[in-house]
Amino acid sequence: MEELVNLFHGFAVALQPFNIMVMVLGIVLGVIIGVLPGLGGANGVAILLPLTFSMPPTSAIIMLSCIYWGALFGGAITSILFNIPGEPWSVATTFDGYPMAQQGKAGEALTAAFTSSFVGALFAVIMITLVAPLVASFALQFGPAEKFAVYFLAFCSFVGLSKEPPFKTIAAMMMGFALAAVGLDSITGQLRLTFGVTHLLNGFDFLIAVIGLFGIGEILLTMEEGLAFRGGKAKIDLKVVLQTWKGLPRYWLTMLRSCFIGCWMGITPAGATPASFMSYGIAKRVSKNGNNFGKGEIEGVIAPETAAHAAGTAALLPMLSLGVPGSPTAAVLLGGLLIWGLQPGPMLFVEQKEFVWGLIASMYLGNLFGLIIVLTCVPIFAAILRVPFSIIAPLILVLCAIGAYSVHSSTFDVMLMLVFGVVGYLLKKCNYPLAPLVLAIVLGDKAEEAFRQSLLGSQGSLGIFFSNPLVSTIMVLGLIALFWSVIQEGITRLRGTRTAAA
């Protein structure tokens, strides 16, 4: 009951005129970011983060999280109309969305995509409303060993669940940890890994890394492919919307399943992209129309979109309640909290009630506004994609430079951004995942601190991580996640021998 009261207070905060304004602004900017190649949720939020330094924290997070929702919506537009996934999580949407558009059913596909995105998000927000306070109050009792175990679990899930080879994931992640370690050591106050370079005294800021790796790296990839946009026209009128909506309830089971997949994948930091693929794959296997998938089946649009949006939203649950972001964009938002002077983690629910519940309420409203905005303004957003890349690219590069500079007002950071961009291009081409790298830069210091404090308490014995049922459970879950691909292989091999024997 207390949660409901808090939520109503949250709505009162979110419905203040200024907050509604930033909400709409955020959604529109977010959709544009989602539509443009080279700008995604993570680096879009990172570039615009400095704009919020002068705002009250609640308005700031509302604007930034709305940019995130907008980007989630925007990804669907480009994949359906142009067969170009604006975001990695909308790749699965192209499989059936683009064929639908070619058959002249772009309106239906877009309506289905937006509506199922909204359903996925709504499901995840309701879950956050109900579960986040419980998780937070539970996490309040965590000591350093438990904290480290949670980080351990988060990073192990990356290794086990991502589709990249595990050792590439580990290499990328450890580079992130190493970059996070550069500079002043927070416990001993000693300098390390700076090699006498004064610019490195404060270490690497993850915002610079995000802007470089995702923004510049993505532009370089797009340049290499030599993109030419060819796409159908988009028009949605009310009749199409209503007709599509009439047909949607038939797919409630697909939606519900995708919601669960999305929430699960969003909380464990595997993120929206694998969630959308997994949901598409399962829907294809289960559905009666499975053979039609890939040829323009509406269910093939609903499944990945619901899951992607549910995962993207659910990624904020661990960010708010544990201080462990579930996606790169959530990591950037977490970085924002630190800049506004808020300490992410369970104490937020105790000390910053207005902030937390304002944010949660804004998730409901932001997704509703988002749905209305994208349904009504699709033609405008689609027109952005017709602006040639040779105009868009320099503008995005300049924006990235501005974003990188304004984090610390340092031109050195801008050069660093370019270096990260080239590194990001190479890593991406060589199939190294970038998300764990970014998350490790964000969480590196905290994970290290928790690790060293636990070891201090135990006089250096690793046994502290298995000293009580709670911490052991989390650690064992982490180990299972770490070796998940090995375990899976073992199970299939066992099954294989059994069927062979039978």
Binding site: T188, I391, A393, L397, I402, V414
Partner: protein, 165 residues
């Protein structure tokens, strides 16, 4: 050779990937050296500053060694990219590097105008009027949004000083 590389030439994926793995390993070695300098054992107040990064560095070296081995074992003749594609990429990287390098001296605005103008005129082949419109329009809009409305200062050079902005 694979069929998709017919007629086109470029560096092979295997070579680039092996190079990346090596570079990452070198990075790991640098981390290890830095950690050893900072002290990797236990001091009076617990683990010293290099304790944690030392093991991180070790993990980087070990995992890139495995990645390197995988590349040598599984790599085929596929291309990393064609030379023409890489030229495209460099046609962005080099101007951007000059842009970024010039920024401390010229300020953001002048550098951005020249950068956007160059990009649109030489890579996009637009009419001068369009080029000038966008090249001047974007920084001016940026000025009003960032510096005036959101009060975020951006780097300025001698020209802005002379204009008294």
């Amino acid at each position: 050779m694979t069929t998709n590389s017919s007629g086109a030439a470029g560096p092979r994926h295997k070579v680039v990937e092996a190079g990346v793995a090596l570079l990452i390993a070198v990075f790991g070695v640098i981390v290890i050296i830095g950690s050893v300098k900072a002290g990797i054992n236990w001091g009076a107040e617990g683990p010293r500053a290099g304790f944690f990064p030392f093991y991180i560095g070790l993990l980087i070296v070990v995992s890139s060694a495995i990645n390197f081995w995988h590349v040598l074992r599984d790599g085929d003749g596929a291309l990393f990219a064609e030379w023409g594609q890489l030229r495209q990429v460099m046609s962005v990287v080099i101007p951007t590097a000059i842009y970024v390098g010039a920024m401390p001296f010229t300020g953001l605005y002048l550098a951005s105008i020249i950068f956007i103008g160059y990009f649109m005129r030489w890579l996009g082949k637009y009419r001068w009027l369009t080029v000038l419109g966008v090249a001047f329009g974007m920084p001016i809009v940026t000025y009003f949004i960032f510096e005036r409305y959101f009060l975020v200062p951006l780097p300025k050079g001698p020209i802005e000083e002379w204009l008294g902005i």
